[in-house]
Symmetry: C2
Subunit: 195 residues, 2 copies
DNA sequence: TTGTTGACTTGACACTGTGTCAATTGACGC
DNA sequence: GCGTCAATTGACACAGTGTCAAGTCAACAA
């Protein structure tokens, strides 16, 4: 039955998430994932053509499981640009730690793997859309600080929110995630909001 | 003569810089560097124990050649905290493109190489000192915006200036280096300077 | 002249991880 | 009983780093 195919596929995806989250996205090999799934290494390749494809599928699976859309709803429903900006940063800041392992693996695979780079980039462009929407809302309210074009402000907000920055602040600098969210909001407000 | 040893060593370092800058730090192998230096791959290992050691030595060599100290002088001589902050961002923003190839290679090697990770981290901690000095100067002047501790402001400034952010803005976002410098100054001033 | 030293060369090899291939097993439906 | 299909097993190609051993070659010294 094809439901068994699906079952194995999902078992692989679950195993991948588990391994990557456990090891912070580093040093997890195809063989490790196979072992964790309870199947042979080659069987993994029956379901995913390459490591990049597996990682890509895993991020999408993770978004589904974590109900990305529901999490995005508050920022989308915001009544002002200022609120939208704050809620988007809050969403993203709380989302990163939940996807960090998988995201990091994809981020690392970028260096050697064309397909992984494309998958990560696509993902980041989706995140950029959220930034753009927040900046646009701010602009519509007439609250975008003088000097910024919408494109330029979006670029900066997007860059600020990139995973390596979260990594540096919560890792190297020892911040809690709550601090990250609070201070990114502060920086974004001081930078982009008029008055 | 030992001057010949030095000559070969420097030839390797020069070749490494050339190759890395030319290829943006990606896909340059020990064999490529050897070929570019006009020696055998094994001869490279007579001078540098590992790829990480070579990359580390190359960044230090690059700093020397580019006269890092002289470049840092203006920000160190600044008469106010506000000026120091601006001059430090200007220094760093103009320095990154000159070391990008080598820096990127070290950054990439981090994933697989413990020693490379340590070398990069040490380098970034030196950069952090510059950030701390700027924030401290701002604080001494009583111009650090309310809400910031010196540590927290340093963390944020440091993170903002990390290479991946420069990479994203000048690469993905298509900014010129001049724009990078100008807008990072703007963000830093709005974020950290009182009034 | 011969001998030593030391940088460098050449070629083989170990190791790791990804991805491929081919032959085989074993369960299930018909 | 027969075909189908997921999965297994084991071998292998490939890339890149790093190691090892034997040999070359020039400079310098007695």
């Amino acid at each position: 039955m094809s439901s068994e195919i699906v079952e194995t596929r999902i078992r692989i995806l679950e195993a991948t998430v588990r391994m990557l989250e456990e090891h912070g996205g580093r040093g997890v090999r195809m063989g490790d994932i196979a072992k964790e799934s309870g199947i042979s290494r080659q069987a993994v390749y029956l379901h995913f053509a390459s490591r990049a494809e597996l990682l890509d599928a895993t991020t999408k699976y993770r978004d589904e499981i974590l109900d990305l859309d529901r999490r995005l709803a508050p920022s989308r429903a915001a009544k002002s640009g200022v609120e939208r900006l704050a809620l988007y940063i809050e969403f993203w800041g709380n989302y990163i730690p939940e996807i960090y392992g998988v995201a990091k693996a994809l981020l690392l695979a970028q260096d050697t793997d064309e397909a992984a780079a494309a998958a990560w980039q696509a993902r980041m462009l989706v995140m950029r859309d959220g930034c753009r929407a927040a900046i646009d809302a701010l602009h519509s309210d007439g609250r975008l600080a003088p000097g910024w074009t919408q494109k330029r402000a979006t670029d900066v907000l997007w860059t600020m929110l990139l995973v390596p920055n979260w990594e540096n602040l919560t890792g190297e600098c020892g911040w809690s995630n709550q601090q990250y969210v609070r201070w990114m909001k502060t920086v974004a407000e001081r930078t982009f909001v008029k008055e």
